[in-house]
Structures are given as C-alpha cells and as structure tokens.
Amino acid sequence: MQKTFTCLICPVGCEITVTATGDTIERIEGHECKRGIPYVTDEFLNPKRILTTTVKADGAQFPVVSVRSDKPLPKNKIFDCMEVLKKTRIKAPITMGQVVVEDILDTGVNIIVTRC
C-alpha cells in the first residue's frame, strides 16, 4: 500500500510517500530532510488532531458554546467524539476552560470550553 502526505513541519511542504504492508513501513520517499520521517511515521500509524466544535448551552448568551479537546485525539475517533458532543448540553454559568466531557471515549482527553 502507498500513501502520500504533505509534511507540515516546515514551509517546504514535501510530498512524502509511505510504502507499507499493513502497519509495517517499508519505504519512505520524497522527504527533503530527516525531520520528515517521524512526521510521516506518526501520520501513517497514529495520526492525531485537536478537535474543535460547539456544544449546546442552556441559558447562555448564545445557543451554543465553543469547545476543544485539551490534547490531540486519534483521528479515527474524531467522528465518534462528535456523536458524543452532539448529545452534550451544558448550563450557564459557563467559564473558560471548564471541562465539558472528561476522558472522552476513554482516550484520556478532556473536552473543554474555549469562550467566556
């Protein structure tokens, strides 16, 4: 299997191709420097992203309030987390940094409020 990634470590933005069988990487090509290797390895094996979205808020200034994951979440859990957050409602008063969902889907990551 081959997969191509754009390296985001520096502005060059190399297109790096990973050749692998299952989870075993056989070849990495297209990186102009060695910093690209750990980057694509992570992107290939265990990509993670910060999730930002909104949850419903009762009695607040607006019907929704913005939230984020306090650490990057595994990319393949993002949509499952969205399902949890769609069903989440919080009540005013709301404070910046307040935890909305603790340890979401056993990832060890909390979802916190990002506005006041």
Partner: protein
C-alpha cells in the same frame, strides 16, 4: 448630543484594536477608549473556534476565542474604557472628533488626540465576482456561515460546494463535515492554493474533500434553493474552457473569495489608501497620511495570521499613545518602499528616518509561488538585508527586518525583490 474626550480612541475590538489599546495605555496615557459595533469584544476571532492562533507569540496553539481572551482579560484591569454596540459613523480629522451612535446615548461626539483605525475587513460577496445564474437561497459567504454555525448553532445546509481555496473556506469545509454535512468540492480559479498548506492537509485531505485548482463556477441553478452548480476548467487567462463543464448537485454554495479592508471611515477622514492593499498608506509607526490617525490589522492589509496583526497593532498603539502624550518624531528623510519584481505590495509603504532608531519590519506578499529564492531589500544599489526562503507563496505573508543601524543607508527609495530563483 453626548460629548466626551479621550487621549486615544480605537475603532474596532478585534485583535488589532485590543492590542493597540493595551499598548496605548501602557505607555502612560490616561484615557483610552475602544468603540465596537458588536455586543462583545474579540472581533472576527469570536467565530474562529478552530485552533491555529498564537503559535508565534504565545508558543501555544490556541483557538480564536482563547487567543482573544488573552487580550480581553487585560482591558478592565488596565482601566481601558469600552463602548459596545456602538457604530462609528464619521471622523472629522480637522477638529479631531468622531461621531458614533448607540441605543442608550444616541449620537456620541468623541474627541481624540490620537485615533487608531482597527475596523478589520469584510468578505467579498458573490456580486463582487459576478457568477451568472439564478438567485436562489443557499448562497453564503464562508464567514457568514461560520458565524451562524459557530455562534448561533444554526446549520446552513446539507450538501456544499465551496468556491475559493482561502483559509476561511477550507476551515469551513472541515467544520461542515464534522457537523455531518457533505462538502463535495472546493473550487479554486488560480493554479495554486490561496490559503495555508496546513489548512489543505488538515481540513481537506483529512476528509478526502476534493480540491479543483484552475477551475471555477460558471453557473448556479435552482428555483427557490440552490440545486446544482456548474464547474468548469479555466485557461491561463482564467477564462472557462468550453466543453469542460460538469454539474455538481448541492443545496448550498459558500463563497471564500477574499476579504476587503473596511475603509469607508478612513475615506471620510481623508486618509490616503494604497490601491493594491486597499488599506491606508502608513509609515513604520503605523501612522496614516493624516496626522494623529493610525491604522493596524486587517483594515490595513489582509493578514493570514492573527499573531502578525498583534505585533503590528502593538506598534500602532504604542506610537498613538506617545503621540497623545505630545511626543513628536521629526523626519529627516522619507523613504518610499517600492515593490520590486514578483512583489505585490509592502506594508509600511513609507519609512521615516528620525532620531528614534528601531528595527523596522516590512510585511509583504509575493505575486507567484516559487522555491529556493533569496529575498532582498536594497536602496541606492546597496543591499540592506537578504533572506533565503525554501518556498514562497502569495497566500503566506513574508516578513523581513531592517536593522536599526542600517536605517542611515536608506535613500529616497528602497526596493524589495526576489533576487535569485534557483529551481
């Protein structure tokens, strides 16, 4: 009419206005006022709930509201006054007064010693780029859709096509996908991405959203609501190529086709504007062509990073404050900054050589993407500064410094250019 007087007045409470107000106060002025038409502080950052702010100045990745809060939290403790829900209508630069209106007080007449313009920018609309077709419901600018979804909790459609590969469009593509909508295509007329690469990777590639470069939308179909759009390839002159069209079914079209600095007020104050940036022409202290009026942030030129806005606005605020305290900088010479080959514009447009010696940062945009280049600032045929870049891109603003001790070498003009291109 309600009348009041301030040392420094700032119009707009986005990151630009907030940073300017804080610095103006910190240099020792007594009375600083921010006038904002919205009901809350933070400007556009209130709706930018995605991460990507603060990497440069806080060394942390924050969301827009969190970034704004770092500044909002300082406003009250510093004793800076704020008028919310108040729209500035006019500026009389001759007698240093401005006119604003709000519900409680009606028209307010506010005097200033220094004024900082920080009104941000607005989105280009469909009208500004004229797509033929019907006028059904379901066409939004990307920023309007962003405000509906992120602040009002109101979803604007189910199946989307996005015109323009600017950052707001790409960020919205991800946001809509997370909310369960289907983004069928991002269509960009230019042969390159106009936003940041990081946004392409994390907003489009992550969700397998197709990006069509060198394509545009030639028709919008639908009676009451958008039903489909016609996409076509364009030639090198950006004209649609006959026979390449195809239709995409969708109920909503988002436009992310650029931002325009909001300068109606600046024009009323007779501030001179740059025909390229569409913002005021400024000197390195962010002073406009009209004495006592300063400008910073997106009203000056469209920025891709809030961090750059903050740095530039701190300069504007500091010198607006010093000006209000009576400090003058007598120019011995004025140097014009001339965009050389491959350079679209430079901010500031003019430099004043005075007794105040500080490093000066020039912000500029290139016209075309290139790799392995050397950027150069020169004056009177002599090199003032050089910088290597592995990659340059019109979507990513460039910055170069002129060292304080090089300022004496400046002639009547300086030129910023792409000196060498190695392929």
């Amino acid at each position: 009419m309600f009348e009041t007087n301030y040392d420094v007045v700032i119009i707009g409470a986005g990151p630009a206005g907030l940073a300017a107000a804080i610095e103006a106060k910190k240099v020792g002025t007594q009375k600083v006022l921010i006038v904002e038409r919205d009901h809350a502080l933070g400007g556009i950052l209130q709706q930018c709930i995605h991460p990507g702010f603060g990497l440069h100045i806080f060394n942390e990745e924050l969301t827009g509201p969190e970034y704004a809060y770092r500044f909002i939290g300082q406003i009250k403790p510093l004793g800076i006054d704020v008028l919310l829900n108040t729209m500035v209508l006019d500026i009389h630069s001759d007698d240093k007064r401005l006119y604003a209106v709000n519900r409680e007080r009606g028209v307010c007449n506010i005097g200033y010693k220094s004024l900082v313009l920080a009104m941000g920018c607005r989105e280009r609309t469909r009208g500004a780029i004229a797509i033929p077709g019907t006028r059904p419901a379901g066409i939004f600018t990307a920023g309007t859709a962003q405000r509906y979804i992120n602040m009002q909790g109101y979803m604007v459609g189910r199946e989307f096509v996005i015109l323009g590969s600017g950052d707001i469009g790409m960020i919205m593509a991800r946001r809509l996908t997370l909310e369960g909508a289907k983004v069928k295509a991002v269509v960009e007329i230019m042969p390159y991405l106009t936003g940041l690469t990081r946004n392409k990777v994390q907003c489009l590639d992550d969700f397998d959203i197709p990006l069509f470069l060198k394509h545009t939308i030639t028709d919008i179909k639908g009676k009451n609501r958008v039903e489909k759009v016609t996409v076509a390839q364009v030639d090198d002159n950006l004209c649609p190529i006959k026979g390449t069209e195809w239709d995409i079914d969708c109920d909503t079209l988002l436009l992310s086709v650029g931002l325009i600095p909001e300068n109606e007020l600046s024009k009323k104050a007779q501030v001179k504007l740059d025909p390229i940036t569409l913002g005021p022409i400024v000197k390195q202290r962010m002073e406009t062509s009209i004495k006592n009026i300063y400008a910073c942030g997106n009203v000056l030129h469209v920025n891709d990073l809030a961090d750059n806005v903050t740095v530039e606005s701190q300069i504007a605020g500091m010198y607006a404050g010093l000006n209000a305290l009576g400090k003058e900088f007598k120019p011995r010479k004025v140097t014009e900054c001339i965009p050389g080959e491959y350079i679209r514009y430079i901010v500031p447009q003019k430099l004043e050589v005075t007794e105040d010696r500080q490093d000066i940062s020039l912000y500029f945009r290139v016209k075309e993407p290139a790799r392995n280049v050397t950027l150069e600032i020169s004056s009177k045929g002599e090199t003032i500064a050089r910088a290597r870049r592995q990659k340059i891109n019109p979507g990513e603003m460039e910055k170069m410094k002129i060292k304080a001790d090089a300022i004496d070498k400046l002639g009547d003009e300086l030129i910023v250019s792409v000196a060498e291109v190695k392929s």
